[in-house]
């Protein structure tokens, strides 16, 4: 259940950004979550609803854009998406793979009134 701590961090970042703009309400938060972070969207939105209640982000829509795992082959240079955690280059079968996507967890933007 790391979702509660993450929800609190999302709220803190959003509130601080909205405060700076003199906003009175946060209506939407666009979050980017890599598949490797193991976020359960339903659980995160539930936790966010709890921590955001009674703040200007109460009732805000938390949009979670899930990013699949992607990799770069250090041998042949190809870029590809990694499915089922198969860390093998589909072109040359090398296992020298650098993970290039799927570990991110960031707030892209928020919408305020």
């Amino acid at each position: 259940m790391h979702e509660m701590g993450i929800a609190q961090n999302i709220l803190d970042i959003a509130l601080s950004a909205a405060d700076k703009e003199g906003a009175s309400k946060i209506t939407r938060i666009n979050l980017v979550a890599g598949e490797l972070r193991g976020i359960v969207p339903l659980q995160l939105t539930f936790c966010f609803g709890l921590v955001a209640k009674d703040t200007m982000a109460g009732g805000a829509y938390l949009n979670i854009e899930e990013v699949p795992v992607s990799g770069h082959c250090n041998d042949c240079g190809s870029d590809f998406s990694i499915k089922e955690y198969e860390y093998v280059c589909p072109t040359c079968s090398s296992t020298k793979i650098k993970v290039t996507g799927g570990t991110e967890l960031s707030i892209r933007d928020i919408e305020i009134e």
Binding site: H2, I6, N9, E86, T95, K96, I97, R108, E111, I112
Partner: protein
Amino acid sequence: MKINILQDVLQANDRIAEENRQFFKKNHNMVLNLMSSPGAGKTSLLEKTAEKLAGKLRLGVIVGDIETTRDADRISKFNIPTIQLTTGTECHLDANMVASALPHLELDKIDILVIENVGNLVCPAEFIVGEDFKIMILSIPEGDEKPLKYPLMFHESALMLINKTDLLQYTNFNLESARANARKINPAIDIIEMSCINGTGLDEWVSWLTARYHEKLSGAGRA
């Protein structure tokens, strides 16, 4: 109105982890973040490690549990500086919790600091605390498919210890499958088979630990 933010959600944690890291660097500590399911053998591993390192390298331990000081009590019997963090409801240690333990440890008298995380295969892998390496234990009764079910921890770990190999004969655990599954997630992961009960693999583990410590001191380091 839309405001661009582009901020990592765990930036606050990562900043404190970096402060911890600077603190460890100043004190010449090699720091491991030890993770596993509950009951995989983290505390037993530390007991055995304390015996093996006695008189060679100075160990220190920060141990996280949701409740009780039982693990700290077990480890401190070996005259090792040990700080227990009880996390209450939190399922993992974060950088701030680790930072709160540091003033209570004489870090300049410690060579290797092991942070024994809360038993959990998911959340601890999410939070860096200032460690040099994440390492993990997979124990035989858990089954050989765990790397596929909980990929992040296996992906983040530099070493996987397969513990309780003394129980192999009573289970359908397949060592080759476990190795293949872990390497599928993380081709670079080191793997050591061991048993805290019969002592298998303990020397190999201590060699791994000692080699990483000397690399760190010499500034060579790995990835």
